[in-house]
Each structure stands twice: as C-alpha cells, then as structure tokens.
Chain length 252, copies 6
C-alpha cells in the first residue's frame, strides 16, 4: 500500500480489495534474531498471500504491546520497545476507522507478536462500534494469529517429540527457521544459545524474577533451526492464511 | 534497529549511540508518488545520517497525524490513513519512555510529515515529564522537521522565482525530486498533474470545501521534478541534519 | 475484607497479610448456570485459600472484560454485561494503587473469567509503574488464572478422552461441576443442553457469525457434570493456588 | 441477576423488568461497622424492593469514588479502597450501555456511598449520549441516593434534637442502626466510639488536616444505634424507593 | 493575574502570594440574569478578597461542568455551554500543576457554579498526586463553594420564612440580588419571572422531564431581589472568605 | 454572550447568529506586557468584528496550550500557565458540541496564541465527528489565526527591513503595539527590553537550553512599538477577519 498512489488504492478498494495489516513488535528475539523479527514474518506472509486474493498490504505496525516475560522474555531486555495496551488499541482503532471512511470493507490484521492479540481484539471492537455510529455497517474485520496457521502434521514433523506450545516458541526453533527461510542474512546462526528452555511458574509475578528467563532471551530452544523448516511453515502459512481470508471475507 | 539483535543494541546504546526515529504518514501524494512517501524520505535520511554519528535507526512510525487540507490535501483522499492527535502523542510517548527505560539517552525524531509536528511536540513533552518521574533526568530529545534542513541557496537554485513555502510543497517539486533520487521506481513521472497550485483562504473551514484542493492532490506543482534536484536536497539534508544532531546531542 | 472493620484490616495488613482479589464477570453460562458463575468460583477459592496463608479476601470485581465468542459465546448473549478493556485496566490499577497506599504489599488477583487476563496484566503493569513513582518499591503482585491450577491427572480423570482446552470449557463440564460442588441450588441441571460443541474457525471475524456458537451458550459439553468432579477440582485449586501464593509471596 | 441464567434474564427483560444496580464502596465505617457497609445497605434495599416491581438486582459495584474527608473520613483510613472519578464514570457508562445493548430499557442506580453521586451522574450522562448514537432512544435511567428516602417524621423520631445532615451521618447512628437491622453479626457494637462529632471548616483543604476527623472515623455519633431504628429506616426506604421507581419508570 | 507581567507575578509568588482561581460556568440564569452570572460573582469576590491577603486573581474558568436540572435547570436551556466532568477535572489539574511548577504553593479555587464542585475535587486530587510525583510536597490547595459563606443571620434576614437551600436558589433571589449589587446593568429586572418554584422528585431521571423546571429557568423565586440584599451577601462573602483563606493558608 | 440572557441568546442563534470564541493563553509576554495579552487581543478583535455580522462573542478560553520556547519563550517562565494538548482539544470539543446541541451552526475560533493552533484543529475535528454522530450535519466551523490577517503592505510599512515572521514576534513590536492601541494602561513601556532577538537552532531540543531565549521573554524586539502601529493592525484585523467570516459562513 505504501508503494501505491492514491488513485491506484482507490480503484482497487472500490473493486473490493481486502487490506492486510501486519502487526508486529520491536522486541528481543535472542542473540540470533533481529528486534524486527515479529514484523518481518507477518509482512512477508501478507506479501505472499496478497496476490492470490487481490489484497493490498498496508504498512506494518512496528511497535506492539509490552513483551510478557512468559511469552517474549519481558520488558527487561534492552531494545524491546513497546506500547501500552490502550495506545495500541487506539492505533488499531484509528487505522481501521480511517480505512473504513475511505471505502475499505474488508480488513485483516495479521499478527506476529503473541502479546498483541488482546489489544487488537479491543481495537477492532472499538472500531466496529464507531464505524456503526458513522453509518458503516458492512465492514468485515478479521484477526489472524500467525502461529495458529500450521498443519498439525507440520508441527509433528518439526517436533517429533511433541510441540512445546506457541508461547514458549519465542525466538526458538520456529521463528529462527522462518527467518532463515525469509531473511537468512538477518540470522546470526552462530549465536544460537543453549541456555533454555525457560521454566515458568503457573502464575504471573510483578516484579518479575528475571532469572526465570534464559539470559539469552530464547525461551525454548533454537538449535536445529533450518531454512527448510521455515519453508514448510511458510507453505502452511501461505496456504492456510489464504484459505482463511477467502472464507472470512466471503471471497470465491 | 529492527535488523539488530538485542545484545548488539544494548552494546551500542551503552556506548552512547543516539536513536533516530523516522516519523511519517500514509497519505496521498498525488498520482505520481506513493502513499508511503513521507516514510521513505525520513527513513532514507536517517539511514544516510546514522553512520557518521554512530546512530541507530529505529523502525519508522508509518501512520501519522490527520492530513490537513492546506498542507496535505486533507483526509478526503482515499488511501490517506491517519491517527488522532492524542493517539500519535501516546505512541511517541510510549516509545520514547521505553527507550529511556532501556538506557537510551539521546533520541531524535526525524519528521517527514508536516502535520505530525505538534503531536510529536506533545508526545516528547509527556515523555520528558514521565521520565523525570521515573528518575531519568539526563535524557536529550530532539525533533527535526526535514523541510527545515535546506540551504537557502539550494532553494534559490530550485525555485529561481521564489520558494512557495513548505506547506504548499506537498507532493510537489521537492518531494517528487527527492523520490526520483531515492526511489525512482516508485515515481509515476508520466502522471505528474497540471491542476495546481492550490489557493487557500487564510482560515480553516470544516467541512472543508474540497474543490479548493487540486483534484490530483498535488498542492503546488510537481512539473520539472528531477533526480538531480533530489540529490541536491539529499546532500543538504544529510549535511545539515548531521550537523544538527551533533550539536543537539553534544557530540564531538 | 468487606466484613472487616478498618482497624481489623489495618492490623492484619500491617502484619503482612496478603490481599486476594477475585475477578469475575457477569456473563452467560448456558441455560444451566447463573450469570455470576465467574464470580462465585474465584470468590469461593479465595475464601478457601485465605485462612491457610492469613489472607484477606477483597470484594470481587463482578463486571469483567467483554466476552469473546470463542471463549464465552460473545457479547451477543443477553445478560452478559461487560467493561471495555481500558475501563477494567483502570479499575485494577486504581484498586491496587489504593491498597498499596494503605500499606498492602502482597496482592493477588484470582481470575475466573478467561477474557480478563490481559486487562488484568495491563492494570497490574500500570499500577506497578505508578506505585514506583509514588515511592512504593516493595510491592508484590500476583496474577492467577484459576483454570491453570489443576493437576494433569485430574484432567485425565475427568476427560479420559482428552481435555478440549480451557477456552472451550466455558459453561461446560468443568464449570458446571464446580458449581454443583459450590452452589448446587444455582445449577439448573435439567437444562444442561446438548447443542455443542462449538467449532470455530482459526481466525476472529467481526461481525461474528453467531451461528457458530451453540444457541445455548455452552461451548463444549456440560453433560456428565457432577458435584464429585467439582470437588476434585476444588481440592486441586485449593492446594495448588495455596502453594502458588506461598511461593509467589515468599511466605514460609 | 448473578443468580439468574441468561434465558431467564432475557425473558424478564423482554417483559420490561427494570434493572437495579446497587452502588457502594469499600470504605472505613468506624471501628464498629465493616468496610462493606455501603454495599450491604443498597443491595439489601434493592433486594427488598425488587419483588414489588418485578425488578432484577444486578451485581453491586463494590468499589466507589474516593472517600471525602467531610463525608467519609477521607482516603487516609486504611482499608478504604477507591476509584478515580473517571474510572467510576466509565464503569457506570460501560455497564449501562451494555445492558441497553441487550434490551434493558429501565435501569436504576441505587447509591449508598455519598461520594459516588457525581461520578454516577456523569456515567449516566455519557451512557445516554452513546446509547442515542447507537440508536437506543427509549432508555430510562434513574439515580437514587438512599439517604434521601426517609420520611421527615422518621428523622424527627430518630433525632428529636434535629438531624445533623446526611453527610455527617457517615458511620453514625443511621448507618449503624441500619446494619443492626440488616446484619447484626457484622456490627461490633462494643466498639462504638465516643470521639465525635467532627467539626469541619466550610472549605476543603489539601493536604487534609486529618486531626479534624475523629480518629475512629465516625463523623457524628453512633451511640444509641438500635436495630429498631434501622427497621424504621428500612420500612421508609422500601416504601419510598418502591414508589420512586414506580413513578420514575412509569410503572402502574 | 492576566494584567500582571511575568516578573511581577514571579516576585509576588516568590513572596508567598496565594493564587485565587474563580471557577464559573456559561449557563442559563433565567430571563433576568446573564449567562456569565456564575463567572461574574466569584471573580468579583476574588477581586474584593485578594488585597487583604495579598493574593493574585487568576483568569476565571468560564466554562463549567454540565448543568444539572435540579440545580441549574439542566443542559436543555439554550446558551448553557458546558464541559464533561473529565475535561473540567483535567483543566483544573493542568492549571494547578503548572502553577505549582512555577512556584505557587497556595492556590484556592473559588467556585460559583454548584455542579463544578466534584470535578474540582477530582482535579485537585489528581493535581496533588502528580505534584507529589514531581517532588512538590508543600502545596496547599483550597476549595470554597461561595454559597457556603453566608452568616445564618443573613439568610434569616433574607428569608424570614426559611431558606429553601442552595441548590434551588439557582437564578433566584440570592443570585439576582448579588448581580444587582455587582452589575446592575446586566440584570433585566423587568423580566424576573413568576413561574417557579420548581418541584423535583427525590430521584434523578434521564431523559429529564423538562416540564419540571419552570420554563424561565428560575428554580425558586427571584421576586424581591434587591441590590441591598446583594450588598449584605457581598459583605458576608468578603468577610468569611477572607477568614477562610487566612485560616486555610495559615496566613497571619 | 456572557452578558446575554438565555432567551436573548436563543433568539439570536435561531436567527443564524455566528458564535465567535476567542482562544488565548496565560503566558509571559515580556516585562512590558501582561500575562493575559493573548486573551485581550482576540477578545477585542471579536468584539469589534461581531456587530458587522451580527455575531455573539463567547467567553474567551483563557488558558491555552503549552508555550513553546521558539514561539513563546517556553514553559520555563513564571506565570505561564498552560494546558496539555489533549485537555485543550477536549475543551474545544466539548464547547463546540454543546453549542451545536443548542442550535448554533456557525462557530469561529479566533486564536491569539500561536501554540493553540493544532489543539484547536484537533478539537474541531473531534467535534465535527461527534456532531455528525449526533445527527448534526450542517455545522460550519472556522479557525482563524489572528496573525494571518494583516495586509502585506501593512507589514512592509511596519517592518521596512523585512518581517521576521509570526513566531518570533512573540511579545515584540506587533503585540506591544496592539496592546498600546487596545489597553495602553496594561503596557509598561519603560520596561521594554533590549536583550533580543532570539536565535534558535533549526531543531527542538528537550530539555530546552533556556539561554537561547532572551531573559526578558521578548523573542524579537519590542522597541519602536507605537499605538499607531497597533491601530493599523486593528484596522487590518477588523477588515480582513470580517471578510473571512462573511466568506467562511456564507453570509451576504
């Protein structure tokens, strides 16, 4: 979208083109992955998925909700730069409302940062409420968490001993493999640490006991990451996200 | 910054590296320039300027304050996607505070979208106030409006008949030339319109009389745009912004 | 706490008594369970757990964050009465800050409504930030999601064919059994429906297609609910929550 | 309401049932009354009044607006746990709007905590404004301050020497007698203090001179409190509140 | 204060001069009094009181909290122009904090509009909290409701048959007499209406039944208003407010 | 407006009378001008302009947005008393919405304080959005910056050596001359300083280096100020503002 002119945008949107908004973060991803990992991944998926459904990819939201210790290592890591929940919800709200004012009726938020999920939910709710007040009643909004769009068989193939779960996978095998497939030059493979996995109590505690997080910031284990695994994931993501968008937007 | 790992970021910031945050918009820029023009330009300047002062370029803020009719054609143009002033101020506030919490003490906002100026001012003020409450008293924050960083001689060379002023230059000769120098593939030179320049009354009126804006969205005139002019501007920007950052941050 | 006088409260808190705050909702729980189910359960757990650790049970927060279709049937059900995320975060923030101002240094939020989790996280974060600004630096805050505090063996005993997951369990076997153990008079066992389980797409869609939720509002299946199962759960909750609170608060 | 299932709620509301929302506080009430006094009283009145008009009693709002020194002793008393005015107004707004979205058209807020009055007024105003924007134009909202619903003769009977006024009555004869009638087990009659009454200057001063409030927190005098007096008051409250609700809601 | 230069202000404040802030409204005051009545009165009192205690009178806050039907006729009257409670609280907060940042340590809000009382209370509370966070711990804030500063004997002299109470006195005998004393040219004595007094139910109802308010907007009765009565009141106000300010600020 | 009764206001507004709202500040204006300078000037212009177009002058907004060092000397000067941007935007929003609810359809904000411009823009935008939601679609809002309404010839006459620009003119020749014409008794001519003009870097820096601002607070030069110059300006303002209002409101 940022490379289109406004007349081009107008024409495509008038023809029903969906808008895909990648939502990411600026967050520690271990010593081997860049701070922008959560932006690179959803933006890439959006770009791969867009042509098949004639979608427009909007500029990514590059600052996300605060990192939670159990799913991202927490705010204590240098470089992690985050928004309050209310701020992010307002950002989502404002963008969605403005797109609606300009004619967009199909908008999907493609999220690559676990913690963003609920502020996005709230932002979409607030936008839907205000759009109705402004007389726009035919908007369709979708929210997709990238981590959900993998075939179980793929996970089994990657984790023959069982999948540890989306949360703990922060900066671990899945994200590292994805980045190896998408942007190998941004991965410092030689820095993949061995200090995980994290073991967390069932509850949250503030102030957080930072010794519970491996010093590297990798929550599970990134060893064994390969571009090939990333390619498997990309194939799943591309296929399943496309299918979800078609279904969710009611596209043939 | 989005390509750095957190240990790399930590090390550079601990050594005093400034953070440069490009602030832009997603806004109509006529039929010849892309919606992301206001992001491309400050991001490029930041990247050119950063090495000389050892700075880190943070992810750009890609959605800006609402387009004003007299300086950007207004919110009526499809594709223009903006934030409320309070939302943008909170975004600035949250990012600056979080950077401060992680040790950054020199942060510059490099703005490429005229309307952002005041929400940035407010965001920086709010951040400064809260940082003090959090015991951080040695932060230095800078705000630079790119349009200010041109030698008068350059403007004279570009506009031998007199410079129409920063506001009216939206999507006009300066921005088009800059984009021709930075990203010629994103410029549709054949679409440069001839319907300007805009003539505005001295006052604002809501609802805005959209007939006052040239239908193309180009406020002045983009004809005559050349990559060479863009190169002159880049040279000025690079030199003068570098100088300003050195001075503002007290760097030798 | 609501039955204590202020001198009694003061004395206990001065002696280090933790405060337990049950957080619930007013939300549909199928035709067999009352709207207040998510309050009854955490309040009861708090009351059972409090004596062992000398804790004070604060008044429950009886209105929670908006019901999400996939975990609570959604806002479409009559009687579901909810707060915006920002409102709930402020409520949490204000209460925690005020308790801190009055000397409490150990506060645990015991949550019985899935959707509350993130607004509680944010509210606690905001409170921690402001308490520090007010010079209170020795506060310990805990957040517990009741659903996490079951032994895996108990789940296996209850679901010999596999546990469908916390989200889908809304108004289903677990909650109904718990209520049969806690407040059998509030359960309309003869109304337990047979229209589940819900099958949701992987993504969220607004407006939500309400036909995806069983008309009863029971997301999985409540048949087979028994007070005995509820007793097993209560035993787990009591034991594991007590253990977590001791550990989290550093109590001997 | 918290004991009803959603189909029961739906049916009653569809038939026009009013919703009564008790609004209270968690606030010091002297050494003889519990912190939850302001919740116990309005909740009890609501429960007594509801059957006559077929009303539903919603869960009480248990945390109220900040205690004011002249009417509640002020925030300095341990155990008093309060919300900011804006938070409470948002809570009222969100609850009323959500009830409206689900079909309720008659809602009454029954307030037992003096300081809540204005945040309730504002919350109701904001809700009315938003409900209109959402197309709901036939909502009727009532606000009742319990203290207003006594016959003058009753006050004369209780205070043969003249009624000192609602504000000063905090934790004094009226509230203590009411609690003796409603929940005698929650009253520590032997702790009724003798240190009042408070004498306040005509103005407010921050920081408040806490020596102006009797150390016990009882603003006037609670001696002479009797369950019988509480019964008189309950009779008045029940009769007059019922009458007000009938009239305000236009019930026959 | 608006007539002082900044060096003059600085000098007086450094010497301990209190700041008096008149808070009023723009609100209907019947057919005989101007919309600015609630500003004229507290501003005049401040100006009369200031010399005796060496105080500075700040610019009046001319827009107040929403008019309440029972105390001001309500928002339905044309010309009544009001702020939301949160807005007014923020205005108070911002002004008080800024005065504090510049050295003022004694600030009094002199309120002439009944409905402003609670937003002022909240604004002062929020300011006190933030001032403490900014290290200012010796601020003294006062709030005075003008209506409270009359000798009982004066009220008896004015109302030999009993005083109807502050609330109902809106645009009635007291305010009209005060304006006759202060600004007789602003009073349309020939328009004093005869349609009161209002009779209100004990409860609030939204939407308000506007027929309960006399069509003129005068809630009680303004007949018999005389400048002489206004002079009595001014004398009381001047004497009692001065005394209160001396006492509250600890001035000799 | 504050001197009108509500029936008078109602009648004029029903007949289409525009409302003019002067927006100013309480801000240092050097040792020669009072803190209220930015209120005196726009209020006077409004009063002069109103009769010709049958307009009503509303009470001035006397507290404005924070002073910026480059255009007002900054917040460091004692006596400068300002609002946050969000607060001021809400004030504008609330007032405009309320006027709209009462029938006003032509409202102009006449701004005399440079920094207010953008919070006014935002406030008007927010009001327009909400007024539409409330079904008011024929509102016309104008915003005028007083400094723009001077004939170029007048500026040439005043500054034969070239006009230094609106921003730097703070408390300088133009404002001082205007005040000499409007309120000579409020000008301390003998205190006009000689320490300017200020020289600012092209960028903003926080914390601001206060040595860049002349200690007097006069940014350019106030010497040579004369009432006659003020008269020239008043004539321009009156003529050009009247013309703009006629045109903007579509008045014949």
């Amino acid at each position: 979208m940022d490379q289109m002119t406004w007349p081009e945008w107008k024409e495509k949107v008038a023809a029903g083109a969906p808008i895909l908004i990648p939502v990411g973060s600026t967050e520690q991803h271990g010593p081997q992955l860049p701070l922008g990992t959560d932006v690179v991944i959803p933006r890439s998926i959006c770009q791969r998925v867009a042509p098949a459904i004639g979608a427009i990819v909007a500029p990514a939201i590059a600052y996300g909700y605060k990192s939670h210790p159990k799913s991202g290592g927490g705010q204590a890591f240098p470089g992690t730069t985050s928004l309050d929940a209310h701020t992010l919800a307002l950002v989502i709200h404002d963008i969605v409302c403005d797109l609606g004012q300009h004619g967009a009726r199909r908008i999907a938020l493609i999220n690559g940062h676990f913690e963003n999920a609920w502020p996005i939910v709230e932002g979409l709710n607030l936008a839907m409420r205000d759009l109705k007040r402004d007389g726009i009643t035919d908007m369709v909004l979708l929210r997709l968490e990238l981590g959900d769009f993998l075939y179980p068989e793929t996970l089994t193939r990657i984790f023959p001993n069982g999948f540890p779960g989306t949360e703990l996978e922060h900066a671990s095998l899945l994200e590292t493999s994805l980045m190896l497939a998408l942007s190998p030059d941004l991965v410092r493979q030689e820095r993949i640490p061995t200090d995980g996995p994290a073991k967390f109590p069932l509850y949250d505690r503030l102030p957080f006991d930072q010794t519970l997080v491996p010093p590297s910031g990798v929550l599970a284990d990134a060893r064994g990451s390969r571009a090939e695994i990333g390619e498997w994931m990309l194939r799943d993501h591309e296929e399943l996200v496309t299918k979800a968008l078609r279904e969710g937007f009611g596209l043939s």
